[in-house]
């Protein structure tokens, strides 16, 4: 992009910079991840050509990485829209630099995650059967419905608050003005427009929360609606939702920390953001532990043989290492790091977040594979080792995410400019008013 466009004088120049200046780093990143993505695409084509035999799945482990990653990615997607909606709803002022990033994560990861069941199909050519002869009684159909709804809601929810920023970019001119012009929907920033926009955001914000919760609940239903030991559990709905938010926050933190560094956003993303989100992560970690503990305790206490068999298998079988790694990653590491002020630095938070993302992926693996490997029937235990194709598609999914995020950041500011401005202009006053209103006697004073 041309240097003619003058953004340097803006207060939020840092936020415009990545859009108007393209460094070597951008090309290298895009190049690498594009290659990885293309490699994954090629692998997928071989899978379509030869059949699912190219994966490591078998009987009885007839679900593997694809379903694990499906649940994992959809979980990550909870970062965004849900968190942003909750923060907006609770009028948390510190949300302003975070919401956009959170929402972007949702949109991209949801798209990636939502495609995973298709990757998993033996006959992807017949995917449209879901619409022509779909059976609404199938939890898979519930998934399709809720994911579609969530995807729609969250893209709109991402898009609406972007409109004023897009208008800003349009007004700056440059290469893609036509696009910005189209996408800004004739935003002029009139009072009426602002009112309408705010209303729309408010409505969506309320709507999106139940949808988001439903999505992960329904995903858990895929498992819990079956009779499989280890799956058939009433706790799964909230357990999955908590897990999803947990991994979502962790993913959000990672993204924030990375872009803070790369785009020099230190001025926007301050320690307080990491403190607050870190605390939230800690709470989720404890919640996660609570659910995990309840899930296993009920299993162990009742000691139904099949259930018990699978629990023991998880604790001591060939996948035990993954189970204990999960406990370490999801509980020990975050609690130690986030529980002590001394460790709760940005680096500390980054480590904890990475641990949680890995841990939550392991959790999905621990749910899917060991149960399937131990069918109720007295058969030999199954074994599942993912194939190169499955790894490729996993890496491809991650690449798609990175690519999506980097490209997004190339075209749009990662932190909402107008909301930042708004915050500067109005928040302090507004918050003062609000806080006063919380206090005893506040009412009287204003009168």
């Amino acid at each position: 992009m041309s240097k003619k466009i003058d953004y340097r004088n803006e207060i939020d120049a840092t936020l415009y910079k990545p859009i108007y200046e393209t460094g070597k780093g951008f090309y290298i990143t895009v190049g690498i991840f594009l290659l990885l993505f293309l490699w994954a695409l090629f692998m997928y084509i071989t899978q379509v050509w030869f059949g699912l035999g190219v994966t490591g799945m078998n009987q009885p482990v007839s679900w593997g990485f694809y379903i694990v990653n499906f649940v994992f990615f959809i979980g990550i997607s909870h970062a965004g829209t849900l968190i942003s909606a909750i923060l907006r709803l609770s009028k948390a002022e510190w949300r302003r630099p975070i919401t956009r990033m959170a929402e972007v994560i949702t949109a991209i990861v949801l798209a990636i995650g939502g495609l995973h069941p298709i990757l998993d199909l033996g006959r992807p050519d017949r995917v449209l059967n879901i619409f022509t002869v779909g059976r609404l009684q199938s939890p898979l159909l519930w998934d399709v419905t809720s994911i579609t709804a969530y995807f729609t809601a969250s893209t709109v929810y991402l898009y609406l608050p972007m409109i004023p920023d897009i208008a800003k970019l349009r007004d700056k001119g440059g290469k893609f003005t036509w696009f910005y012009k189209f996408a800004s929907w004739g935003w002029q920033g009139t009072e009426h427009q602002k009112k309408v926009l705010n209303r729309a955001i408010n409505i969506l914000m309320v709507m999106v929360i139940p949808i988001a919760i439903s999505v992960h609940t329904v995903i858990s239903y895929i498992f819990s609606m079956t009779l499989q030991p280890g799956w058939h559990s009433t706790i799964f709905g909230p357990y999955f939702v908590v897990g999803a938010i947990f991994s979502g926050i962790a993913a959000l933190l990672i993204v924030m920390i990375v872009f803070r560094k790369v785009f020099h956003l230190e001025d926007y993303l301050k320690k307080v953001h990491f403190q607050y989100l870190g605390t939230l992560l800690l709470i989720m970690s404890l919640l996660w532990f609570y659910f995990t503990f309840s899930e296993y305790l009920t299993g162990i206490f009742a000691a139904e043989p099949h259930e018990m068999h699978i629990i023991l298998y998880k604790f001591t079988g060939p996948y035990a290492i993954f189970f204990w790694m999960m406990v370490i990653c999801n509980f020990l590491i975050p609690v130690i790091i986030l529980g002590f002020k001394r460790f709760k630095t940005i680096t500390g938070v980054l480590i904890a977040s990475i641990a949680v993302v890995i841990g939550m992926w392991l959790e999905r693996l621990n749910i899917v594979v060991p149960s399937l490997a131990n069918p109720r029937m007295e058969l030999t235990v199954g074994m599942y080792v993912p194939s190169i194709v499955e790894w490729a598609l996993f890496i491809g999914g991650i690449s798609a995410f990175v690519l999506g995020f980097v490209l997004f950041s190339k075209f749009f500011p990662l932190i909402s400019i107008w909301e930042t401005e708004e915050g500067r202009k109005e928040s302090v006053k507004e918050v003062e008013k609000r806080v006063k209103s919380y206090l005893p006697g506040g009412e009287i004073i204003t009168k």
Partner: protein
């Protein structure tokens, strides 16, 4: 309406495996590549389960052939997103191969682990293609299959009794495995027919259904004196 069911007498069954072979030949079931077979992709619509019991030298072995149980309340059909597996009026749980999208949800939902998947396109040398059973379609890669209770035989029997202008009698409709069992351990018939062997055997004190507590109501009943 009939309700077809199978009774397997484990006191008579020797575990010879003939039911497996008969089923494979009758239903054009693919023979998978050796390495594939050993990595858990072997395709049997009925397979043998062996459980060793006791301490050496007083070992006993519990062994039973396991087809699809054609559950009255099948967990597998409930989850199918496209109605590619279903239970019909006569209680047979069928697969519609050309509609199946290969999500394998029914496989993971079946508590009896009886379903198999076409991980690759099944292959036969041209010579073997000559002896396919023409009554049973050959599957493609990417779809799930399982024991059908040899439903194609029922269709044929119905046609025959239609022509002869009579009702189906006990023993008219026999799946390949039941017909071939050298121990006469497999009975097959209509649970709604009070005269039928299966009706009476299913009520015997030796009768057991696998994992009854799950509420699946399997229509394959095992007879065994042993607990």
């Amino acid at each position: 309406m009939s309700k077809w069911a199978m009774v397997i007498d484990l006191d008579k069954c020797t575990g010879c495996g003939d039911c497996i072979a008969a089923c494979k030949i009758e239903n054009n079931i693919a023979i998978v590549d050796p390495e594939e077979a050993n990595s858990g992709r072997v395709m049997f619509w009925i397979e043998m389960v062996s459980v060793y019991e006791g301490e050496f030298p007083n070992i006993k072995i519990k062994r039973f052939p396991k087809p699809c149980f054609h559950c009255e309340n099948p967990p597998c059909t409930k989850v199918c997103p496209v109605h590619a597996t279903y239970k019909n009026d006569e209680g047979l749980v069928g697969q519609i191969y050309h509609r199946c999208i290969g999500c394998r949800y029914c496989m993971v939902a079946c508590p009896y682990t009886v379903k198999v998947f076409n991980w690759y396109e099944p292959e036969w040398p041209v010579e073997f293609r000559k002896c396919f059973n023409p009554d049973v379609s050959v599957r493609t890669k990417g779809v799930v299959e399982k024991c059908s209770f040899c439903a194609h035989r029922l269709i044929k029997v119905k046609e025959e009794v239609d022509l002869e202008g009579r009702d189906i009698q006990d023993g008219d409709y026999m799946p390949a495995c039941a017909e071939s069992c050298p121990a006469d351990a497999i009975y097959f018939g209509d649970l709604e027919n009070k005269e039928s062997k299966v009706y009476n055997l299913a009520k015997s004190s030796r009768a057991k259904r696998e994992m009854e507590n799950l509420g699946t109501e399997p229509k394959v009943v095992y007879l065994s004196k042993r607990e």
